[in-house]
Symmetry: C2
Subunit: 340 residues, 2 copies
Amino acid sequence: MAVVTNIDPKRRKPTADALQDLIDLVADDLKAVNDLIIQRMHSPVEMIPQLAGYLIASGGKRLRPVLTLAAARLCNYQGDRQKSLAAAVEFIHTATLLHDDVVDDSDLRRGLASANAVFGNKPSVLVGDFLLSRAFQLMVEDGSLEVLRILSNASAVIAEGEVLQLITANDTETSEQAYLEVIRAKTAELFASACRIGAVVADRPPAEQAALSDYGLNLGIAFQLVDDVLDYSAAQARLGKTVGDDFREGKITLPVVLAFRRGNDEERAFWRRTLEDEEQHDGDLDHAVMLMTRHHALRDSVERGRHYAAIARDALGLFSDGPEKRALLNVLDFVIDREY
Amino acid sequence: MAVVTNIDPKRRKPTADALQDLIDLVADDLKAVNDLIIQRMHSPVEMIPQLAGYLIASGGKRLRPVLTLAAARLCNYQGDRQKSLAAAVEFIHTATLLHDDVVDDSDLRRGLASANAVFGNKPSVLVGDFLLSRAFQLMVEDGSLEVLRILSNASAVIAEGEVLQLITANDTETSEQAYLEVIRAKTAELFASACRIGAVVADRPPAEQAALSDYGLNLGIAFQLVDDVLDYSAAQARLGKTVGDDFREGKITLPVVLAFRRGNDEERAFWRRTLEDEEQHDGDLDHAVMLMTRHHALRDSVERGRHYAAIARDALGLFSDGPEKRALLNVLDFVIDREY
């Protein structure tokens, strides 16, 4: 299994470095993207840059715009268009985060008070709308109908995925397949589009556009699966991050799906009480983690993630070796092995 | 004053007919638009067409898409592009209504339970996002970057206007100028864009595009001003519509701005208690209407609306006479004189 790089200690590098390597590779472009983000979230209505800036500055990994920049480099693109399009991708992502936190009644985001907790739900909804509109303005300035097509489709699919998640929320009988459809729509589609755009601006043939899209899609699925595991992870707690947000919100993620299906009647009653009825007591989160551990639900969710990372790895087979390709491949290890 | 057509009874026609005349003029196109709206709000996620359909089918006047269709006819446009773009305009409008009702905690919309009251705030936020994305998909299919530019700008300006309204909400010292900036952004900009697009698809010169945009902008301001008056109107109550929604929500509209500025200290204390502190008792709405009547705040708000309608009328001066131009001019009277 090519993706399990930590079997051979000589090959292994700390996975946090793998993300940093990718970021370093596109550092100049990323600085330009960050400047553009600051510049273009401006509005005469001061609350807009205040609220948008609060979220945008609060320590996101900028993973999606970094992917656009790296994909463009992988395709030997020499122009500047990837920068404003990477900013558009980040604006779409930020808009969905803002609306997500409102929909989930979340108080925390990346370990800090969420924008809706600080500014209220109402401005969060409206500033999300503003950022989505601003993303389309950036794309219109770029002038590519193909990019507009890709990202307007992604934006509609994300919204569909969010509604689907809302409907399946608190349903402990959600199937793994149904869950995968949700995260494919709400998370992986934007990863796929972010990567594809790198090939589109470079005017690469359809097979390479599809390859980068496939890489992004499968990376996105793996990313979300591991994110779901980390919400129950002791490593998270060690890093001072909150654990159990998904549990408290009654969110059905893959570790729950697996633990529920592998559990006995008594265990299923526990999941129904805590996640469907959202009747939770002290110690329930610990009990949930114990049940997940008993049924290897966390370990196997990471294993499922490894499967998608392997598909992403092979998707890049068309591209010749080089620092960009190596960095994109190493990020797959980061996504699987990360502790944050 | 050309707009006061009801001075001469021979010239006057019932204003409700004026809107119907415009609708009749574009009836075939409007049917196609309605079919397209039904078709394109479809999603495999059933809640999306259910929720979107609830609002879209609940008796809106389709004023904005009708304006796009009529503007295209006024410009002698012979193609079909105006239909999908009119649907895009209606999707943007519907998305803003959905988010508006969430932001305002509104229970009613057009005299019916609002979508958020029936389906909840969460799906309303997400289906709004879906419809906005779908609007951009329709524009991308149309393929005009100019239209995409116009409507992505409008969409950003609308969001700015909504945030501005949120900030000035409950502030009884809001100036008329500040209030006008809000309605210009949140309402009139989309009217302007809806009309301009008719000239853009017909490839008319910039002066005619600007003329239709100016017509729409000023029509939109007049429309919103009269809408604000109708919320305090006895005629509304006679028609079985709710009155006082804005008052109960503490919304500052032009009748309030005028009554507050023209009132004495005791009256201002009343407005502060009811709208800033939102401490309302039985009889307060009647008292508010009494104060507005005492200071001619309702009558003068309609007069202000007449001013903008007059600008809209002159904006169409470039176009030669014909049924479309007459219908668009008569709609200005409808917007001012309507009782609903």
